[in-house]
Assembly symmetry: C2
Homo-oligomer: 344 residues x 2
């Protein structure tokens, strides 16, 4: 297995509005460094840098105006004389008749293209998020050109909350969706399995009307949990995509066995879909001690999950999403990749 | 002229997300105290307390579920163990297919019912905003029952950014809209003239489809100015309300003469509409030195504005909106009310 990693993620470090206050983001550079050290220590194969991709490669997942906004937002923000992290001023909420009009100034654009105040723009944000997306694209390319049967895109910032036209939840470009779209160049049917603690409502939105990408997500019940606005069982896709979106929420406080029951359901859905390639959106935040966890997955459980994914035998891009318990990230990453490698 | 004032406004003091940081809100209790002192010093007539009104009296302007949310939000927030000001976690942005579903937990509700992070909920917010709305209702009632021909509702928090189902921009209940709705019980046609520096997009939204309330607003061009999402000339109303919404934006940096040109346009629109009663949404933030100002209205200008409104001779409720330059509030309030009284 090859790992794709760019140190450019260090260029981004954010804040978030949570519990009524702006605080340093849970999502920080040490997360990626911890997992990288483990990948190297376990001898999981080479670690390579992503190659550069044109912005047009993000187009399957995101609108051109959104990508253009992300790339230029910091310059627009600092042109107003401000040097702190850029956060929105106003959100065009659902109730507003004029909510679909893109504002012209940066404070308005920031809200138009955001679902929260948890995806700030800094000087290095664009370089970090494009390197992160390029890591996922490089992983997909390795599969498509026969360079590898499995690749780990060590993405940071994460991506699965980023929608077609919005950032949020630490996410800017949807790495998993971008990888899936790239895989479709060579593969006919691509499945995305998302085992992050949170529903990847961005992935769901991007592929909601399509039948060439199956999205299956196991996550905490969104009724009173981020991302709140999506992740419910009744969201099954629309139009040609009806039946190609499967949400498997877990009640809060669920034991580890609940996660693996949902995983069985997910694997059955994959078997029915018969994908030619797989994207795994891998979050380590289902770990029992993770500050974001609502379920009790153990380190052994990550080994079992890795084994189940590896045993599918599919060309697989593993894309890193969340995971915020630094003390356990090394052991959990080692367990997951050990299980994955053993089953190939 | 009677002034309606409740000291309950002291129960609310907020923070706001602006320029990428959470800071103490511009909108603070000293604003109301400064104007109140001036009302008293100038002998403008009695200052009375608002009477209590049932929540149902807000129904013409707001949905029942929104009012219920406002009244209970602090209890819901503190039930989760948090004691800081309540701010949203996630906004259901326009791009989300599930954006119209009300979340069940408080962090989600806060975003569902908000357009920004500039309307926090504190322990005293509901008491303050309901007293503010009741001041506007008391003013309307005085007009309707013959108790006065003009009343000044010294409202704080302000209201004109609050929509049918959302708070934002320091506003929770739309005092001007609630007063206009109450006046319709006795008067056939009510005009709302809004001279605050910012467009009152909440008032616009509430009456956008109706022909019994004319909304005319003079404000800074919203292209790159709060509230961003509305306030454009082409927004003229919808359905039966088409032609009953008039936006008169001013370019940023406009001289005082521009304001009075717009006021002439506004007064012509009022003359065509022939209202039976008037609500003036009065912001002092058009003053040349106000931190929010984009126009150069002078203290003399407030006298001229007061004279123009007084000369209409209509039953009038003056509802206080913005105005953040404490050093000039006294002189500007004295000038406005002096001009108003002299013209009656």
């Amino acid at each position: 297995m090859l790992t794709v990693y760019s140190s450019d993620h260090h260029l981004h470090r954010g804040v978030e509005l949570k519990d009524g206050a702006i605080t340093e983001s849970f999502e920080n550079p040490l997360r990626a460094e911890t997992v990288l050290a483990q990948v190297r220590a376990a001898g999981l194969g080479d670690v390579i840098a992503p190659r550069a991709f044109d912005r047009a490669c993000y187009a399957g997942a995101h609108s051109a105006r959104y990508v253009e906004f992300l790339a230029g937002a910091w310059d627009e923000w600092t042109a107003t004389g401000r040097t702190c992290q850029a956060l929105p001023l106003v959100w065009p909420v659902h109730a507003m008749p004029s909510s679909a009009t893109l504002p012209e100034f940066i404070d308005g654009k920031l809200g138009f293209f955001a679902m929260d105040a948890g995806a700030p723009i800094n000087a290095g944000t664009w370089d970090a998020v494009s390197a992160s997306a390029n890591s996922a694209l490089t992983g997909a390319e390795l599969l498509s050109n026969g360079g590898a049967r499995a690749a780990f895109a060590l993405c940071r910032p994460p991506g699965h909350h980023a929608g077609h036209e919005y950032m949020g939840g630490y996410c800017y470009l949807n790495n998993a969706a971008i990888a899936a779209q790239a895989l479709l160049g060579r593969h006919r049917r691509v499945a995305i399995l998302d085992t992050d603690m949170h529903h990847g409502q961005g992935v769901q939105e991007i592929f909601y009307g399509r039948d060439d990408v199956l999205y299956v997500s196991i996550h905490g019940d969104p009724t009173n949990f981020y991302p709140v606005v999506a992740g419910y069982e009744e969201e099954t896709g629309a139009g040609p995509g009806d039946g190609y979106n499967l949400n498997l929420p877990m009640p809060h406080g669920a034991p580890e066995s609940t996660f693996f029951e949902r995983l069985d359901d997910a694997l059955r859905a994959l078997a029915r879909f018969q994908p030619d390639a797989l994207v795994l959106a891998l979050g380590f935040d289902i770990y029992k001690d993770d500050p974001q966890s609502q379920v009790a997955v153990t380190t052994d459980g990550f080994g079992r999950l890795g084994g189940a994914i590896g045993a599918l035998g599919l060309p697989t891009v593993i894309v890193q999403e969340g995971g915020y318990h630094l003390e356990s990230l090394d052991a959990n990453a080692r367990a997951f990749f050990g299980g994955f490698a053993a089953a190939r």
